[in-house]
């Protein structure tokens, strides 16, 4: 091997790269294969398997015939789209996302801009304090807030005895608050770190032109950190559609949360019936919808950025 390497030393870089490529086939394979095999086994195969399961239906010969699985085409998908629980759950997470994601990202952006401005003292403390909730797992955060909302156990009885935060009309927003509490600091940090990457000379010029902090934030900083905002938005959209942990825990505090409250809870309860084929169809539709939404959002924002 070393003799080949010495032979390569004096030739043009492009040629050496090409020859290296052939020589390194084995290395590339060894480096990629371990991850590749696991990715195949625990990502691609499950996806294919879910699609395959979703195309099967259970067939019985007469009322007492033994059930057999037969190919049913898209009939499970017809059931998905006729299912009113499914539409209700989708509507719920969309409503949740339309309100919660902008509020959360708006707050994260505000905090990041304040941290980046000269207006604040004790930045390190605020950064740590705001990021700390991200260390609390969703299950634990939901249990904790469940008690904080409860009319009899909450430290904020003045509020919780007046407004039932766990009733049918309010519980969705109570959950939104839990999600916001956990993730604002995380998103703040993403946005803040991209603010730090902007060269400060840009501000100097704006300052000389008489621009104030607000003007600088609005006209310079926000356009420059647009990629970070898009990234946080895409991940938040994915997270919203997957909502599961918080409502599942809140079932223990509020009877108004049904087993079909969000799409993922619907998948879970359908699979435990057990109606695995229908549950698989739900999963596939949900995954595709997530994919499309993230993609459309990426496209829309990219086009905007190009036009601007």
């Amino acid at each position: 091997m070393s003799s080949v390497a010495t032979g390569v030393r004096n030739v043009a870089p492009s040629r050496s790269k090409k020859r290296g490529g052939l020589r390194n086939k084995r290395a590339v394979f060894l480096l990629i294969a371990p991850f590749g095999v696991l990715f195949l086994a625990f990502y691609l195969v499950p996806i294919i398997y879910a699609v395959w399961e979703s195309l099967q239906v259970i067939h019985r010969d007469g009322t007492f015939g033994a059930p057999t699985l037969v190919f049913g085409g898209l009939s499970q998908y017809a059931l998905v789209f006729q299912n009113s629980d499914f539409w209700a759950s989708v509507g719920r997470v969309l409503l949740f996302g339309v309100v919660q994601v902008p509020v959360m990202l708006g707050l994260a952006l505000l905090f990041a801009l304040l941290l980046d401005s000269p207006l604040l003292r004790g930045k390190r403390f605020f950064r740590l304090a705001f990021f700390a909730p991200y260390a609390v797992p969703g299950v634990i955060a939901a249990i904790m807030w469940g008690y904080l909302y409860s009319p009899s156990l909450s430290p904020f009885k003045l509020l919780t005895s007046q407004v039932d935060l766990l009733s049918g009309g309010t519980v969705l927003w109570s959950i939104a608050n839990v999600v916001t509490w956990v993730y604002v600091g995380y998103n703040m940090l993403i946005i803040y770190s991209s603010l730090l990457a902007i060269p400060t000379e840009i501000y100097e010029a704006a300052r000389l032109d008489g621009a104030g902090q607000f003007r600088i934030a609005w006209s310079i900083k926000i356009p420059l950190i647009a990629p970070a905002l898009v990234l946080t938005a895409v991940f938040s959209i994915i997270g919203t559609l997957q909502l599961l942990t918080e409502p599942e825990v809140f079932k223990q505090f509020s009877s108004t949360i049904s087993s079909t409250y969000t799409p993922n809870l619907l998948v879970y309860s359908t699979a435990s019936v057990p109606n695995v084929n229908l549950a698989a169809a739900f999963s596939v539709v949900l995954a595709i919808a997530t994919f499309i939404l993230s993609f459309v959002f990426l496209r829309l924002t990219q086009r905007k950025a190009v036009q601007a």
Binding site: T6, L31, I32, E53, P137, I143, M144, I190, G212, Q213
Partner: protein, 294 residues
């Protein structure tokens, strides 16, 4: 409100007082919002069930210290030491699977960054697509597959899927491109080092700050994972701490004593993460920045 707070029309020190005050006020109010729930959890874990219902929820009681010790004692012994078992499980799932997964992702990302070969972009795009596939959508088919090979309700059912981090590959590729110069790889080649050895002796060291970040991401997602263990595990002794506390909380109405244990357990379970997070915050910032800009 935010606009007013940030508006500093006047230049120099005048921009100061009002804007500064408004900025500090906003941050102060939200500090309370973020920290009071955790403070409440700390206070609650120092109370007996009776005091929890009777005394002011945001301050200690005279017997807080001894009650806290008693609570911790029953937390660690209840049900034959279920709680320490769950903590241990969470730590093993998150550190071992997270650590191994980070190295595998780094190898793959490095290869995708440093070698040109046919199908490279196809492989990368497939993995990138994996970032957008929600983990919860995979949980059900994974369960069906694992049940066919008789691996549900085992350690492996949670451990094996946790090894895969497509996002880690994506970040590794970016980091490898920016932090491992081609000249160094070429120099190692000239010195007669094999490609794999170069990765493990030279490249991995140059990528190490990035690897810490990837590890943290994976550690947190495994530690927080709820759906996969919920679907896969029936045996309490295999539970991660999140699923265990969820399970206890579901029995609170039947066994009221468990409420104290749920709250103390919740508090104890977030301490290791809080410490790890706050002390490694630098790596978060670096990693998040790279992820957001590229």
């Amino acid at each position: 409100m935010s606009a007013a707070a940030l508006t500093g029309r006047g230049r120099g020190p005048r921009e100061g007082i009002i804007s500064r005050g408004a900025a500090m006020l906003i941050m102060g109010v939200f500090t309370l919002y973020f920290l009071i729930p955790v403070w409440w959890l700390l206070i609650s874990s120092t109370k007996t069930l009776g005091n929890f219902n009777r005394t002011f929820s945001l301050w200690f009681t005279p017997t807080s210290l001894s009650d806290f010790a008693a609570n911790i004692g029953s937390l660690f012994t209840y049900g034959g030491g279920l709680f320490p078992r769950w903590m241990l499980n969470s730590i093993v799932y998150a550190t071992v699977a997270g650590g191994l997964g980070t190295i595998l992702a780094a190898m793959c990302g490095y290869a995708l960054s440093k070698y040109g070969f046919r199908g490279r972009e196809a492989i990368f795009n497939t993995i990138l697509g994996g970032v957008l596939v929600p983990a919860t959508a995979l949980a059900l088919p994974l369960f069906l597959i694992f049940s066919q090979v008789g691996l549900t309700n085992t350690f492996w059912a949670v451990f094996l899927p946790s090894l895969v981090s497509p996002f880690g590959v994506y970040l590794s590729r970016i980091y490898a491109a920016s932090s491992v110069p081609d000249e160094i790889i070429e120099a190692a080649r000239i010195d007669g080092s094999g490609e794999i050895r170069t990765f493990f002796t030279v490249a991995i060291r140059l990528m190490s700050p990035a690897l810490v970040t990837i590890f943290l991401f994976q550690f947190v997602s495994i530690w927080n994972n709820f759906f996969l263990p919920l679907i896969m595990l029936r045996d309490q002794s295999l539970f991660p701490v999140t699923l265990g506390l969820y399970n206890w909380n579901s029995q609170v109405n039947t066994y009221p004593d468990l409420r104290t244990l749920v709250l103390v357990g919740a508090f104890v379970s977030i301490i290791p993460l809080l410490v790890a997070f706050l002390s490694l915050q630098r790596f978060w910032r670096n990693g998040l920045g790279a992820g957001g800009l590229k």
